[in-house]
Symmetry: C2
Subunit: 352 residues, 2 copies
């Protein structure tokens, strides 16, 4: 079940909760704006539902509440920042501004970021640049985490390593948002909490057997999440995972070598301006030609039509703008708990 809420009331609650936990008002507003945009796109796992996770991080000081990032190196189109464990949404907003400005000037810019806090939904970030006509690639890893084994091995050594790319389409951006493992840590936790198994053998136990059981990650020795491709062709997902660790940690010259123990994010961000290559008009023509061919193509019998990544987010975005932001019950339960503790009230749901 979901209930719909007024955007500004949701914003006031979420920003108020973050500010009450010590985050300055401008940072709290920047973080909240992106969380609400994420809910508006329908990705409610990464929207205001993150606030209950961020509050204890702020309280413990694991998420830094004041100050700014440090510039480690700046070579115009190539930059390294130290995020000082500030809120990832705030860091990424600054980083996107910097990379978009330089891509406008020079055609392209990239940045490796060490020690950011959680950056949330990657598509929310790539969409900002894609809506302005840029191609935007973001990858992230957590050098304190070990969840995915190298292909052929049984010891978890890598994180799921999400990566996303957003780029302009005709009516709305294409928003690819995926990762190098078959499933994510959140999905594993969901299955453990609900006592359910995966529909497919997406996990690997410590003896090297593929399994649908999410609990292998809590066994001793620990099992792992399989890379994209699974036991069958998981060398492809492993390759993708190595690439993300390289872009996010090796280019930042900070990562597993330093063995951080704090929940954090290393990030690689790149912005390209199609105008500096073959031009935006020709770019969109090619993108839309393929997208339309895919959407119009014959679907597997019994399945819905072929969708392009970003199509559903665009549709949900229009519905949210018209009828309010839909949040599922489990998010409302978590939000209610932290709101009550802070002496705040949940907004009233919109009734039709």
């Amino acid at each position: 079940m979901t209930q719909k809420f007024d955007r500004s009331e949701l914003f006031t609650l979420a920003s108020g909760l973050l500010a009450q936990s010590g985050l300055g008002k401008d940072k709290a507003d920047v973080v909240t704006e992106l969380l609400v945009q994420t809910d508006e796109m329908g990705v409610t796992t990464h929207g205001v539902s993150m606030v209950p996770y961020y509050l204890p991080e702020l309280a413990s000081g694991n998420m830094t509440s004041e100050g700014t990032h440090d510039v480690v190196s700046d070579n115009k189109v190539a930059m390294v920042w130290d995020g000082n464990y500030l809120p990832g949404h705030w860091i990424m907003t600054q980083a996107l501004e910097a990379c978009m400005a330089r891509a406008s000037d020079m055609g392209m810019a990239a940045m490796a970021i060490r020690r950011s806090h959680h950056i949330g939904c990657l598509s929310t970030l790539t969409r900002i640049a894609a809506q302005k006509g840029f191609v935007c690639y973001i990858a992230t890893s957590d050098p304190s985490g070990k969840w995915v084994a190298p292909f052929g091995g049984v010891e978890p050594l890598l994180t799921p390593n999400p990566w996303a790319v957003g780029y302009p389409g005709k009516d709305h951006p294409v928003l690819i948002d995926t990762c190098a493992s078959i499933t994510t840590v959140s999905k594993v936790r969901e299955h453990i909490n609900s006592g359910t198994e995966f529909a497919h053998p997406w996990m690997l136990d410590a003896e090297g057997n593929a399994t649908t059981d999410p609990n292998v990650v809590n066994a001793e020795p620990r099992g792992s999440i399989l890379p994209v491709g699974g036991v069958d062709h998981g060398h492809k997902g492993f390759a993708m995972g190595l690439m993300v660790e390289m872009l996010t940690q090796a280019l930042a010259a900070h990562g597993r070598v330093e063995a951080p123990t704090r929940w954090g994010a290393n990030v690689f961000l790149q912005v390209l301006d199609p105008e500096a290559f073959g031009g935006l008009e020709g770019f969109v023509a090619q993108v839309e030609h393929l997208n339309e061919a895919c959407r119009a193509s014959k679907a597997i019998p019994g399945r819905g039509p072929v969708r392009i990544p970003g199509d559903r987010a665009a549709k949900t975005g229009r519905a949210s703008a018209q009828g309010g932001v839909a949040l599922p019950d489990e998010v409302l339960t978590r939000l209610s708990a932290v709101a009550a503790e802070a002496g705040m009230a949940l907004p009233r749901p919109i009734t039709d």
Copy 2:
């Protein structure tokens, strides 16, 4: 069975064959050098075995034998070239030189190339930059080809869309070389020619059933190659495929819209200089830390040790340098045929 050959004798034969078919000597030498390097790395499907495929392309004029590429746009770190269907190895050699020089100056450079001919083994190319301390990403698509259906669909609309990334490691580069589909067109042809099925259901028939039968690509209506992830999580491979088509065709503002009918390659090439980010020393330290953890980790019982992409190529490279270039019988059969036709002799194999 394989037989070993002296590098320079193999070079003389391959370059001679290309030159006799009208390719200028310097271009023939550049192409041959990369083909032999590919064989030396052990990728004999993409080495001198390509010569018998290139000769009829030269003869028909589908592979251009004279002239040079056109610069479509040049914005220092962002470039577009038109390859005029010149040999891909020659185009890519020029493109790598341009991108490496600019990455040295500015930290990073990228290029989209339209209308190249076949560029061969991507790792051979990324290795050139990785050995000089750069990160090098290459992706390629063929806008005249349709082999992979969008996830959820049954009509082949995309090419397998190979991508590779090479980057410096401690003793030798990491060489990731993969694609967005589970298997490749060459593997499909091999299975058709040998009358064998795939070990796993890596194909999709026109009704949407996964199958081990390679012949579905010749059925009417045509079947397709499944994207990475297969029927289970193929949305991930489809996303990767869309990204490669975007980088190679949309940034080049030339691709499926123009509906070329000629065997060709669109390419995206990017070179990053770790020195412009966090420094090469810190880069290699992070890369090697993870690589060593993977190599030393516990393998799945009954399987060999965990390998990092590039490890095998480095080992084969050392063996080739010591004992000669090993070529399998099927390559020798094809080479013998074209050599005989051209009045040339195969070199004598090295005997131990």
